[in-house]
């Protein structure tokens, strides 16, 4: 039966893993994800799951082991963050290239240097070209819901791509929130059995994986297949979102909107900041200002067409990024990709990027308010004051 609990984000992730009951979890600890696997280790020790948990010597080994286990036909999960994700960088590409549906929780934390353990999206953004599905969660409930859905999305016959589910480091991972857990048997029925077509342990249908593919080979074609799988993932994300709504009552799509029906200016963001943005929108709306919010959930695949379709009617758009792309003061990844989504369209809003929260720098409601006010003012002026802004920077 459904249970409503007060837990931290890491607990919600561990609970989703417990209900999924994966076959293999190879893992290495790193702040702020360690609590997920510590909790999961309790489940393993207590016999609540049948998972074979492997404590490996590094995150590179964790992903290597995950790949081996998944290729052998196991349902595999792991968790990481920051330097750990960076350490498994080469293996991320192996996982997606071999089309293995590994599901990983990545707790967003800044990448050194300087060493900083706090919330920053730079880690997962650094892996945006790795061919992994990337889903952002605003809060602990979404973490739980997204992990469950990601298993089905990743394992779908038209997808077969690994998926990472994000949660903001410390802000969500270590803060207590209200979460509704679904019934065990309901989630198990939703998740279903993992039945890969090929696996290295299938003696009846032996195959070879990870073969060398040289100059006369098909590397280019296999990458083209991955692009097609990402396109399919868009349809599957929607489909699984609808199926999940049937069992939970909660809707999930590429993004969700808040008070945008008659908005002139909209603020787009991903992760925990979305909650704070909605608070600011409420305050500004009470003053009669026509402002709304959009929460981006799916970053990979990037819903370019759907976003452009939704956003083109607004007059101004503030895009928040919690990572730097270092293209030379040209904005963060969400800004760069959202802007590009409008290129073919005649109508697009005035757009400005607001980079915030790097290294865990607090995002104050007054900063979001500043962004909102600037966009409303920009509509009057006919242009934005600056294309790239930094919220909360000492300047």
């Amino acid at each position: 039966m459904t249970r409503t609990v007060a837990v931290v984000g890491t607990d919600a992730a561990a609970e989703a893993m417990r209900q999924i009951n994966p076959d293999v979890v190879p893992v290495y600890p790193i702040t702020p994800q360690t609590a997920i696997v510590e909790k999961f280790a309790d489940f393993v020790a207590d016999g609540d799951v049948h998972t074979h948990m492997i404590n490996v010597e590094s995150e590179h080994s964790a992903m290597s082991a995950a790949i081996g286990a998944s290729a052998a036909g196991a349902r595999v999960m792991t968790c990481t963050a920051s330097q750990g994700l960076a350490l498994m960088f080469e293996e991320l590409y192996v996982a997606s290239g071999l089309r293995l549906p590994i599901v990983m929780t990545n707790v967003n934390r800044s990448l050194s240097a300087p060493i900083n353990i706090h919330c920053d999206h730079g880690d997962s953004m650094g892996a945006r070209d790795s061919g992994w599905i990337q889903i952002f969660s605003e809060n602990a409930q979404e973490v739980y819901d997204n992990i469950l859905q990601s298993i089905k999305i990743a394992e779908h016959a038209d997808v077969h791509l690994p998926a990472m589910v994000m949660m903001d480091g410390f802000i969500i991972s270590h803060a207590i929130d209200r979460v509704e857990y679904l019934d065990d048997s309901l989630t198990q029925k939703f998740i279903g059995e993992y039945t890969p077509q090929y696996s290295l342990l299938n003696a009846e249908n032996p195959v070879s994986m990870g073969n060398f593919d040289g100059l006369g080979g098909f590397f280019f074609e296999l990458k083209r297949q991955q692009e097609a799988a990402m396109v399919n993932a868009k349809r599957v994300i929607r489909q699984i979102g609808a199926e999940y709504k049937d069992i939970s009552g909660r809707s999930y799509d590429f993004f969700s909107v808040y008070k945008t029906e008659d908005a002139d200016a909209v603020i787009l963001s991903a992760g925990s900041s979305c909650g704070t943005v909605r608070e600011v929108v409420d305050v500004m709306r009470a003053e009669g200002k026509k402002i709304g919010a959009i929460k981006l959930r799916s970053f990979r695949p990037f819903p370019a067409e759907e976003l452009a379709q939704e956003l083109s009617r607004f007059k101004a758009l503030a895009i928040l990024d919690r990572s730097a792309a270092f293209a030379g003061d040209l904005g963060g990844p969400i800004f760069i990709e959202t802007r590009s989504a409008f290129y073919e369209r005649e109508n697009h809003p005035l757009m400005s990027n607001y980079v915030y929260g790097l290294g865990g720098r607090d995002l104050d409601p007054s900063m979001i308010r500043k962004a909102g006010e600037e966009m409303l003012q920009a509509i009057t002026n006919g242009k934005v004051p600056q294309i790239v802004n930094y919220l909360g920077l000492r300047d």
Partner: protein
């Protein structure tokens, strides 16, 4: 018996290549002409051969042909010409000759 028919592989577009580059069959190395990589080719003198089968034991590619316990020749389709067999033969029964001259019909 081979299940995977890739006879027209040179004509495949990106949709026809097996997902993830998987090879959905076993023993495909049998059809891979690694012998085409040779620059040195082994030739053996049956008169000197004592059938000790050292060459067979040491060949890394299982390219020594043995019948009824006797060394009968080389699997030139797979032999890469590494020369380990010639190196290991204690009776000088195997020597390595340039593949090019073998191509011209010399040193058969």
């Amino acid at each position: 018996m081979k299940k995977w028919d890739f006879s027209d592989i040179q004509t495949w577009n990106w949709k026809q290549v097996p997902e993830g580059g998987i090879i959905p069959d076993t023993g495909t190395a049998e059809e891979y002409n690694t012998g085409s990589w040779r620059s040195l080719r082994p030739v053996f003198d049956p008169e000197k051969c004592t059938n000790c089968l050292n060459c067979f034991i040491f060949c890394p590619d299982a390219a020594i042909r043995v019948e009824d316990g006797k060394m009968v020749g080389f699997d030139y389709f797979h032999c890469k010409g590494c020369g380990i067999c010639a190196n290991q033969c204690n009776f000088d029964a195997i020597k390595m000759v340039p593949q090019q001259s073998a191509n011209r019909g010399e040193n058969a």
